[in-house]
């Protein structure tokens, strides 16, 4: 599959009062057309910073961000053209559905603004038709009822779908979803993920899915790759199911061990195993 976006040895250093912080340390990732890459990490692991760099909101202290082989930050005659091409192809969905939509704009305005700006439509009728199409793609039906709604009139899940529709307006080839389900109710999350999967299979849109929830990553990215981040570095990378079944890195192993299971018997067995392991370690320590 064609390589779409490549993060090449990205490092991001932030200067704070306490000195320098390496939020991202020598991270390299490749995203291919139509594929899914799950970036998993806990808070402070650098995954959100990596997402911002990948989406072009932040330029890295070191390293290159290449879109279709061309460095988007390199100075040159057609820098603007390159960056513009990148902008239209790579879009972003935020974590907080309550903050990612302008509270004083209705859905029609929010979704038609990029269409007008980039001259993708010529008449109001065209704009309306295209917006309705987008709303249908993200599963917000009946579409007419959603056009005049303001963000506060919609549920979290609906708002997030509007955010996805907005990301689709420029016809992107890659969507970066930064914890897009974390603030939604449990029963809504699956619906949203299924909608995103449909976009992948029907429109061929690739995803960089960022989350702290390994189970969510496994569900969404089962036929893709997973990268686990810890203090700014990628500590494990491989096909999702493989990483989960056979983690090689100790941090990944610890994470997988730590996940609470929605299965009472399994939870009990795992706890017994943990206690046994701890006791064995203690006994081993005493007799040494």
């Amino acid at each position: 599959m064609a390589e779409l976006l490549q993060l090449d040895s990205i490092t991001q250093v932030f200067k704070t009062r306490r000195g320098e912080v390496r939020a991202v340390d020598n991270v390299s990732l490749t995203l291919s057309e139509g594929s899914v890459l799950c970036l998993v990490g806990q808070s402070g692991s650098g995954k959100s910073t990596t997402a911002k760099i990948a989406s072009g909101l932040l330029s890295p202290t070191q390293g290159a961000v290449r879109f279709e082989g061309e460095d988007i930050y390199a100075r040159g005659k057609d820098h603007k053209r390159r960056f513009k091409k990148f902008r239209r192809a790579v879009q972003y969905v935020h974590q907080d559905p309550y903050a990612s939509l302008n509270p004083i704009q209705d859905v029609m305005t929010t979704l038609s603004a990029p269409l007008w700006r980039h001259r993708l439509v010529k008449t109001r009728a065209e704009a309306r038709a295209r917006v309705c199409e987008l709303l249908a793609q993200v599963g917000l039906t009946p579409v007419e009822t959603f056009l005049p709604k303001f963000p506060h009139q919609m549920s979290g899940g609906q708002r997030q779908r509007v955010a996805v529709a907005r990301a689709l307006t420029l016809g992107p080839r890659l969507i970066i979803a930064d914890e897009a389900t974390s603030m939604l109710d449990v029963s809504i999350r699956i619906g949203l993920l299924n909608m995103l999967t449909k976009l992948r299979t029907e429109l061929g849109v690739g995803f960089l899915f960022i989350t702290h929830d390994l189970a969510m990553a496994k569900h969404f990215g089962s036929d893709g790759d997973m990268a686990v981040m810890h203090v700014g570095r990628i500590v494990e990378f491989g096909p999702t199911l493989d990483v989960i079944a056979n983690p090689r890195d100790s941090y990944t192993q610890a994470l997988l061990e730590a996940i609470p299971e929605p299965d009472p018997d399994l939870a009990r067995r795992k706890r017994a195993a943990r206690i046994a392991a701890r006791q064995a370690a203690q006994i081993g320590g005493d007799t040494s």
């Binding site: 806990q42 808070s43 599963g139 917000l140 039906t141 919609m154 549920s155 979290g156 899940g157 609906q158 708002r159 997030q160 779908r161 109710d185 449990v186 029963s187 809504i188 999350r189 699956i190 619906g191 949203l192 299924n194 909608m195 702290h212 390994l214 189970a215 969510m216 496994k218 569900h219 989960i244 079944a245 610890a254 994470l255 997988l256 061990e257 730590a258 996940i259 609470p260 299971e261 929605p262 299965d263 009472p264 018997d265 399994l266 939870a267 706890r271 943990r274």
Partner: protein, 303 residues
């Protein structure tokens, strides 16, 4: 409407029969506007359940279902706009007498809170008073609910509960909240709730906003404390996995009502109510072999 009086526990119908806490037909309302004619929103509708000694009940549901409100109502800690138009919360004291929490006068309520029943609030690890050391906050808590405790006794007790939650008392008591990590602060909160040795502990979302490794430590800690010490627990969570780990019985709430209640294994392996089923189906698992149904669910149209 939930069935009244009967609960899904092993014992009888009479209020307090064997149970430490009996919630009977409890309803809670929130005023939606300042004027008296404004409609009130029923956050909790006619809820009844019993809590038996040594049990651990999980109240699960999504945002807005009323689970937090129910927890707060038991301790009568509702905000100003909240009121309890109906119901009883029967509590059986250590000496065997039963009393209705909702009818207590302020003095009795002050003694009830923290020494009989205490609570760990949602997100409280971020609402410590930043200018007081942990010792001062623990001492204030003790004094607020039990004047008879001397400073020395309070200190000993504080140190004891901190040890129970696996923290070093010497170091933690003289620290300020910002000097402790999120996980440590959550442990301190749990310790604070046990200061006066309550019979009932209510925890509201004890692991939200914690990272997976810390979450695992806190869940194990709570499980451990519950096994070792003598208290019954009600915990509120939207996270079914945490409920599966910690609960002996589970109640599913939707729109202010308990729609299903039962033993934890029954709820997870043989859910009956459609809402419970949809919740269980909506939780993806990492484990390969699992007897819980998993897979896609949920409709698209409402998001």
């Amino acid at each position: 409407m939930s069935q009244n009086a009967a609960s899904a526990g092993p014992e009888s119908q009479e209020p307090g029969g064997g149970a430490i806490l009996s919630v009977r037909n409890l309803s809670v309302e929130y005023k939606t506007g300042q004027r008296p004619n404004d409609p009130a929103h029923r956050a909790v509708r006619d809820v009844s359940f019993d809590l038996y000694p040594g049990e651990s009940i999980a109240l699960i549901g999504e945002s807005g279902c009323g689970k937090t409100t129910l927890g707060l109502a038991i301790l009568r800690l509702l905000p100003k706009l909240g009121s309890i138009p109906a119901g009883e919360v029967l509590y059986r004291r250590r000496d065997g007498t039963t009393v209705d929490v909702l009818r207590m006068n302020p003095d009795e309520l002050r003694r009830f809170r923290w020494s009989e029943c205490s609570m760990v609030f949602q997100g409280a690890m971020n609402s410590f008073n930043p200018v007081l050391r942990i010792w001062e906050q623990m001492y204030e808590t003790i004094r607020a609910h039990d004047r008879s405790v001397s400073k020395r006794q309070a200190y000993e007790r504080s140190a004891q509960v901190l040890e129970d939650v696996e923290l070093d008392p010497a170091r933690v008591l003289k620290s300020y909240p910002h000097e402790l990590s999120g996980g440590m602060r959550q442990r301190v909160l749990i310790a604070m709730s046990m200061l006066l040795n309550p019979q009932v502990l209510i925890l509201d979302e004890p692991t939200t906003a914690l990272d997976i490794l810390t979450q695992r430590a806190i869940v194990d800690l709570i499980h451990d404390l519950h096994e070792r010490l003598d208290f019954a627990m009600i915990f509120v969570s939207h996270d079914l996995a945490v409920a599966a780990e910690l609960a002996t019985r589970v109640a599913t709430m939707y729109d202010g009502e308990i729609v299903e209640m039962g033993d934890v294994r029954d709820i997870f392996y043989r859910p009956q109510h459609p809402y419970t089923k949809s919740l269980i189906n909506a939780v993806p698992t990492v484990a390969e072999k699992s007897s819980v149904l998993s897979g896609p669910a949920g409709s698209e149209s409402d998001g």
